[in-house]
Symmetry: C2
Subunit: 263 residues, 2 copies
């Protein structure tokens, strides 16, 4: 099988692989998909109308771009088997160093979309993509891919990307957990969570304008001990939320003391 | 001075008092404002073109509704001095029990707007108001006020309101602090916080549809030890954020174990 110019092999058949594959423009030919699961490989291959395999040694060696979108801890294993000379090989991980691809090809990089994917979910418009490239050719290819995908490219090196991934865990996963706690506190007392939504939207609106530390409100930053005491009392039978409350309160006060010292 | 039907006295001249006063419809006459600061009383009185005082004993006794919008810990002091028989007296606090107003009047209640107010800020459209009333007359009056203010009324008793206030601290203040941490992590590594905004908006969008616990993603809920180890390593010189990371991770895993057991 001879690969066309701009042809792509997708390695992986999970949420990210599927979303990327389905969002690539019609002009771009996906020639093969790989999954370690034969069933998943076949399924995605059929959707994309392309070849599929569950054997890394049967990856077509003549495509132009190889996108490795497997689980973070499987990237190294994939990289240890693939040998693609000077083909462009990229992974899509937020937390894996670009260097793991050095042995696979002379031309390598990262194409990391900052989006939470659900099963069957597609790529959203203007998704930020962190790109990193071993050289100008790969960089050009990745910029073109991001453009085709309707995303927004940011040049982010591996050190930055690791920190970005950490920041995203705070901004996304941790806040979601806090929202879940608020949801439970509301439900527990027979109130609809909806009451809190306008307040949450206001917090997000302000977030877009300035450093959130400057918008900090609430009993912790005011050092309103009476209210903190009441809240602590309300949580006395909930050690999980009490621990969150106490640490968050301490941390807010720590930041505000630091800010007071600094400015 | 004879008060008109539907007349209001505003006790307090802070952010909440000012926003409520300025948002009340023209049909509603504010006859007096009070602040413990003579200057603030005069300033708001001039804006509203009404009488003002800094002496609780000079509060006009003949208005229809008295809105106490002073700091939480000052409400009790105000209530210990005011005696208004059967006039409607309400406070605007999220965390103070309605009962503190029992001695002030036979008709009392709470009118608690769930909005973070900035100085000079106005009331937003469709702000949720938690209302609580000693009886049906007060309840009718408060419902009418909320309608005039363009808000949305929820019947919330004092026990619920205490829990709501706690939930709002989680949903608003704690998440803001977490966003501030993410902001710092980004800035520290020379990246614009904007990269994270689409992800944050996606989290909020999902939040509106379902219990956030069902949307939990990230290394903690996946028990992705490698990534957690990397993140912990990145935070080794930042004990404040490390403590947040570790507790949040533990708490997410606790919730997910609980959910797994339950369903």
């Amino acid at each position: 099988m001879k690969a066309q110019a701009g042809t792509i092999v997708i390695i992986g058949a999970g949420k990210v692989a599927t979303a990327l594959a389905q969002s690539l423009s019609a002009g771009r030919k996906i020639v093969q998909v790989y999954s370690h699961s034969a069933a998943h490989a076949k399924e995605l291959g059929n959707v994309l109308k392309c070849a599929y395999t569950n054997d890394l040694k049967k990856i077509i060696p003549t495509a132009d771009i190889y996108i490795i979108a497997v689980k973070d801890d499987a990237i190294e294993k994939v990289a240890s088997i693939l040998r693609l000379k000077d083909k462009t090989v990229v992974h899509t991980s937020g937390s894996v160093d670009v260097k793991v691809l050095k042995k696979v090809s002379d031309n390598y990089g990262v194409l990391y979309p900052l989006q939470t994917f659900s099963a069957g979910g597609k790529l959203k418009a203007e998704v930020p993509f962190c790109i990193e490239a071993s050289g100008s050719v790969v960089k050009k290819q990745l910029s073109a891919l991001v453009k085709e995908l309707g995303g927004k490219a940011y040049d982010i090196n591996s050190g930055q990307r690791a920190q970005l991934h950490l920041a995203a865990v705070f901004a996304n996963n941790f806040t979601n957990h806090i929202f879940a706690a608020a949801y439970n506190l509301m439900t527990e007392a027979g109130m609809p969570f909806d009451i809190l939504l306008p307040l949450i939207e206001e917090t997000i609106r302000k977030l877009k304008k300035t450093n959130p530390a400057l918008n900090q409100t609430g009993p912790a930053v005011r050092n309103d001990r009476e209210t903190i005491k009441k809240h602590t009392q309300l949580l006395k039978n909930n050690p999980q939320y009490l621990a969150l409350y106490q640490l968050m309160t301490k941390s807010i006060q720590q930041t505000s003391r630091y800010a007071a010292k600094k400015f």
